[in-house]
C-alpha cells in the first residue's frame, strides 16, 4: 500500500505543478505577445468610429475591465481569484451572458460526446488490433491497411464525410446541432429522442477515427508480446494457448493505457474541431464562435477549461494504470 501512496502522491504533485504552469501560460501567453489584446478588441469595437476621445474611452474601459493597467503580478492574482470563483467576465460576442454561463452550458455536451466516443473507439480498436495480431493471415492483411487509412483520416474529415453520406444524402440523421432547433432543453421523451438522433453522427465519426490508430498500436504491441521469450517458454511447458493469449493481451494492453493518456490531448483537440462541423453545442463550437467574434474572455476561459479537462483525464488514467500494472508501483522503489 505504501508503494501506491507514493505513486499516487507523486502523480498528484505532478498534476498540481502542471496545473499551475497551465494557468500561468494561459495568463501569460496572450500578454507576452506584441499585439495588445485590449487594443485589438477596441479596434474591433470602434470600427468606423472617428471620434478619437470616444475610442480612447472605450480603450480605457476595457483596460479597467481586464485590469491591464495594473502591474503583471497583481493582474495574475486578480485573474486567479476570479477564476477560482468561476468568474471569467462577460462575453463580448454573446453580451450580456457571462463566460462561465456559456461554458457551463457547453461543457456537458462535450463530455457526454467525447468521453464515451473515445472510450468506445479505444476498446474497439484494441479488440480489432489484438485479433489482427492473433489471427494474422488474410484478416491482418486487410485490417492493417484499412486501420492505418482510417486512423489517418482527420477527425473533421470523417465528420464531414459522415455528415454528407448519412445526413445529406441518406437523410437518416440530422446534420446540425445537439437537438432539434424548435426545442428548448427540458426533460421529456421527445427531447431525449432528439438528442440521441443528433448524437449519432458526431459519436460514430469520433469512434471511427480513434479505432484506426488504436488498432495499429495494439496490433504491433501484441505481435511484440507474442514473439517474446516468455511466450515461447510457456509453449514449451505446454500451457494452453488460451491462457497464454490472455497474458499476452494483458501485457499488450498496458502500454495502450499509457498511449491513451499521452494522446488524449490530441484526440480531444481533434474531436473539438469535429464538433464545429456538426455545430454541436459543445466547447469546440463555443471556441469557434469565440474565435470568429474575437471574443477574448471566452477564448481564454475555453482553453483553460479544456486544459483542466485533459489534465484530469490524464491523472485519472495514471491512477488506473497504477492499479492495473504493479510494475509501475514497484518502479517507485528503485
Amino acid at each position: 500500500m505504501k508503494g501506491y501512496r507514493k505513486y499516487f502522491g507523486k502523480k498528484i504533485l505532478w498534476f498540481v505543478i502542471t496545473f499551475i504552469v497551465a494557468v500561468v501560460l494561459n495568463f501569460v501567453l496572450p500578454r507576452l505577445m506584441p499585439a495588445d489584446p485590449v487594443a485589438a478588441i477596441t479596434g474591433k469595437l470602434a470600427e468606423g468610429n472617428s471620434d478619437a476621445s470616444a475610442v480612447a474611452e472605450i480603450y480605457e474601459r476595457y483596460q479597467k475591465e481586464f485590469g491591464t493597467n495594473l502591474p503583471m503580478i497583481e493582474q495574475f492574482f486578480r485573474f486567479c481569484k476570479n477564476a477560482i470563483h468561476g468568474n471569467f467576465g462577460l462575453s463580448f460576442s454573446q453580451y450580456p451572458r457571462s463566460v462561465s454561463n456559456i461554458i457551463t452550458s457547453a461543457i456537458g455536451w462535450t463530455i457526454a460526446l467525447q468521453f464515451p466516443a473515445i472510450i468506445v473507439g479505444w476498446l474497439l480498436g484494441n479488440i480489432l488490433g489484438a485479433l489482427a495480431a492473433y489471427i494474422r493471415k488474410g484478416y491482418d492483411k486487410v485490417l492493417l491497411p484499412v486501420a492505418l487509412f482510417l486512423g489517418n483520416v482527420p477527425a473533421f474529415g470523417m465528420a464531414v464525410v459522415m455528415l454528407v453520406i448519412f445526413g445529406v444524402y441518406l437523410k437518416i440523421a440530422p446534420i446540425a446541432g445537439g437537438y432539434a432547433y424548435d426545442m428548448i432543453p427540458h426533460l421529456s421523451w421527445d427531447f431525449i429522442k432528439s438528442v440521441i438522433s443528433h448524437y449519432q453522427l458526431p459519436f460514430w465519426s469520433i469512434v471511427l477515427v480513434s479505432i484506426g490508430g488504436q488498432a495499429v498500436g495494439m496490433r504491433s504491441m501484441s505481435i511484440y508480446e507474442l514473439n517474446a521469450d516468455y511466450v515461447k517458454y510457456s509453449r514449451f511447458l505446454g500451457i494452453k494457448d488460451r491462457k497464454i493469449v490472455g497474458y499476452v493481451f494483458r501485457n499488450a494492453m498496458l502500454p495502450q493505457v499509457t498511449g491513451l493518456a499521452m494522446s488524449i490531448g490530441t484526440m480531444i483537440g481533434g474531436a473539438l474541431v469535429a464538433e464545429i462541423i456538426f455545430s454541436y453545442p459543445g466547447l469546440g463550437s463555443t471556441m469557434y464562435t469565440a474565435v470568429t467574434a474575437a471574443d477574448y474572455p471566452l477564448i481564454s476561459a475555453t482553453t483553460l477549461i479544456i486544459t483542466i479537462m485533459v489534465l484530469l483525464v490524464t491523472l485519472f488514467l495514471d491512477i488506473i494504470y497504477g492499479f492495473i500494472d504493479p510494475r509501475v508501483k514497484a518502479a517507485q522503489f528503485e
Partner: protein, 415 residues
C-alpha cells in the same frame, strides 16, 4: 548505410508509403508547369461551378459545324433537361390516372417518356388536382414535345437600325469540334466559393501544407533532439530540469497552446511560416522523450566510454558515437511530426486561426472556406472531398513509411 537503405526499400510498407508521397510531390511540381498562374485567381464569377469541361458558347456558335444524325441525341437531350422534380411530378400523374407504376424506375428516362406519351392526356382532369398543377403538367408536356420536335435556335445580330437580322441557324443535329472552339476550359474539380479553380488551388495548397509540415517537423525535431540528447547524455540536474519541462508540456495539450499563441499573434502576423514554427514549438515533447530514453540506454556502451577516455569533446561524442545509433528513431519521429504538423495546420485553420488568407492557400484554409460556404450541405463535394482525401493520403503515406521503418529497425515487429 547502403545496406540499411536497401533493407528499407525492401519493406513493402515503406515502399508503398514512399510511392504515394513521391507521387503527391511530383504532382505538386509538375502540375503548375502545365497550368501556370496564380492559384488564388478568381476565374469564376459565381460560386461552386461543377467539375467538367466548359466550352465557350460565344466561340462555339462561330465555329464551323458538322452534321451528325445520332439516334439517341433527342433522348439524351430530354433526359438532361428533365429535372428530378419533373420526374416526381410525372410519377404523381401516373398515380393520379391509375397507371401501373409497380415496375417503374425513375432513372430510366426512356421508359418514363414512353409512359408519359401513353398516359398523359391534357383533357383529363384527375380528381382533387388543383388548377395550377394541371397547368404545370400542360407546360411540362409542351416542353417535352418541343425538345423532341427538333426546333432550331436562331442567332441574330443587330444591324444599323437596331433590328435583329438572322445570321445563323443552329439545328439540333449540328456539332462543333471542341478543337475548333477557341476557348475551352477544363475544370476537373470545378470552382470553389470564390470562383477559383479547385484543382489548381489544391495543388498549390498541398505544396504549402507539406512545407508547413516540414518546417514544423524540423523545428520540433531539432528542439526535441537537442533537449533529448542533453538530458540523456549529460544527466544530473540538466536531465531533471529538461524532463520537468517536458513532462509538463506533454500533459498540457499542444492544441490549446497552439490556439492561445495563434490567437495572440493576430491575423496579420500569421504567415504560413510563422504558423509552422508555432506548431513545431508546441509539439517537440514526444521526440524529446524518446530520444532521451534511447540515449540513456546508449550512454554506458563501451564505445562511448572509450571516446570519453580518449578525451573527445561532448559535442563530438554526441555527434559520432550517439547520433548514428538513434538516427533511425529520429527519422521516424520526424516523419510523424511532419504528418501531425499538416493536421495541426488544418485544424487551426478550421477554427479560423490559420495562416493569413490573402497570400497562399493551404489545405486547412480550403477546408475552412468550403465549410464557411456550406459546401457540404449544398452538394459541392469537389470543394471539400479532394482536400480531405489529400490530407488523409499524405498522412497515410507518411505513417505507412513510418510503420515500414519501424519493422526494419525493430526486428521483433516483423511479420
Amino acid at each position: 548505410m547502403k545496406n540499411t537503405l536497401r533493407q528499407v526499400f525492401h519493406s513493402s510498407k515503406f515502399v508503398g508509403g514512399f510511392t504515394i508521397f513521391v507521387l503527391i510531390l511530383l504532382t505538386m511540381i509538375i502540375y503548375p508547369l502545365f497550368n501556370p498562374g496564380n492559384p488564388l485567381q478568381q476565374i469564376g464569377v459565381g460560386t461552386f461551378a461543377k467539375p467538367g469541361t466548359y466550352v465557350n458558347l460565344y466561340d462555339a456558335t462561330k465555329a464551323p459545324t458538322e452534321t451528325f444524325r445520332l439516334e439517341d441525341a433527342a433522348e439524351k437531350r430530354m433526359a438532361n433537361s428533365l429535372s428530378e422534380e419533373d420526374k416526381v411530378a410525372m410519377v404523381e400523374w401516373f398515380t393520379a390516372v391509375e397507371a401501373d407504376i409497380s415496375d417503374l424506375d425513375t432513372s430510366d428516362t426512356d421508359k418514363m417518356l414512353e409512359m408519359w406519351e401513353q398516359y398523359y392526356d391534357p383533357t383529363v382532369k384527375p380528381k382533387g388536382m388543383i388548377r395550377a398543377k394541371i397547368n404545370y403538367y400542360k407546360r411540362l408536356d409542351n416542353a417535352l414535345k418541343e425538345l423532341g420536335s427538333g426546333d432550331t435556335v436562331i442567332i441574330a445580330d443587330k444591324d444599323e437600325t437596331g433590328a435583329l437580322v438572322e445570321t445563323k441557324k443552329i439545328l439540333d443535329t449540328d456539332y462543333v469540334n471542341t478543337n475548333a472552339v477557341a476557348n475551352v476550359k477544363s475544370l476537373p474539380l470545378g470552382t470553389d466559393n470564390f470562383g477559383r479553380d479547385v484543382l489548381k488551388e489544391l495543388v498549390s495548397a498541398t505544396g504549402t501544407s507539406i512545407r508547413i509540415g516540414l518546417i514544423a517537423g524540423i523545428v520540433a525535431t531539432l528542439i526535441g533532439l537537442t533537449l533529448g540528447l542533453l538530458a540523456g547524455y549529460v544527466g544530473g540536474f540538466l536531465d531533471d530540469f529538461i524532463m520537468f519541462i517536458t513532462n509538463i508540456f506533454t500533459v498540457i495539450p499542444g492544441f490549446v497552446l497552439l490556439i492561445l499563441i495563434s490567437y495572440s499573434l493576430g491575423q496579420e502576423q500569421r504567415g504560413a511560416a510563422v504558423v509552422a514554427t508555432v506548431i513545431g514549438f508546441t509539439s517537440w515533447t514526444w521526440t524529446c522523450r524518446s530520444v532521451r530514453s534511447q540515449v540513456i540506454s546508449l550512454r554506458n556502451r563501451d564505445h562511448v566510454n572509450l571516446s570519453k577516455l580518449s578525451g573527445h569533446s561532448l559535442f563530438r561524442i554526441v555527434l559520432t558515437d550517439i547520433l548514428p545509433y538513434i538516427a533511425s528513431y529520429v527519422v521516424m519521429a520526424f516523419i510523424l511530426q511532419v504528418s501531425s504538423g499538416i493536421l495541426s495546420e488544418a485544424q487551426l485553420s478550421l477554427l479560423g486561426l490559420g495562416p493569413k488568407t490573402t497570400e497562399v492557400p493551404t489545405l486547412g484554409l480550403m477546408m475552412n472556406w468550403a465549410m464557411l460556404y456550406s459546401a457540404h450541405t449544398n452538394g459541392s463535394w469537389w470543394a471539400y472531398f479532394p482536400v480531405i482525401l489529400t490530407i488523409t493520403l499524405i498522412s497515410f503515406s507518411l505513417n505507412l513509411m513510418n510503420t515500414g521503418l519501424d519493422q526494419v529497425f525493430n526486428p521483433t515487429l516483423r511479420d
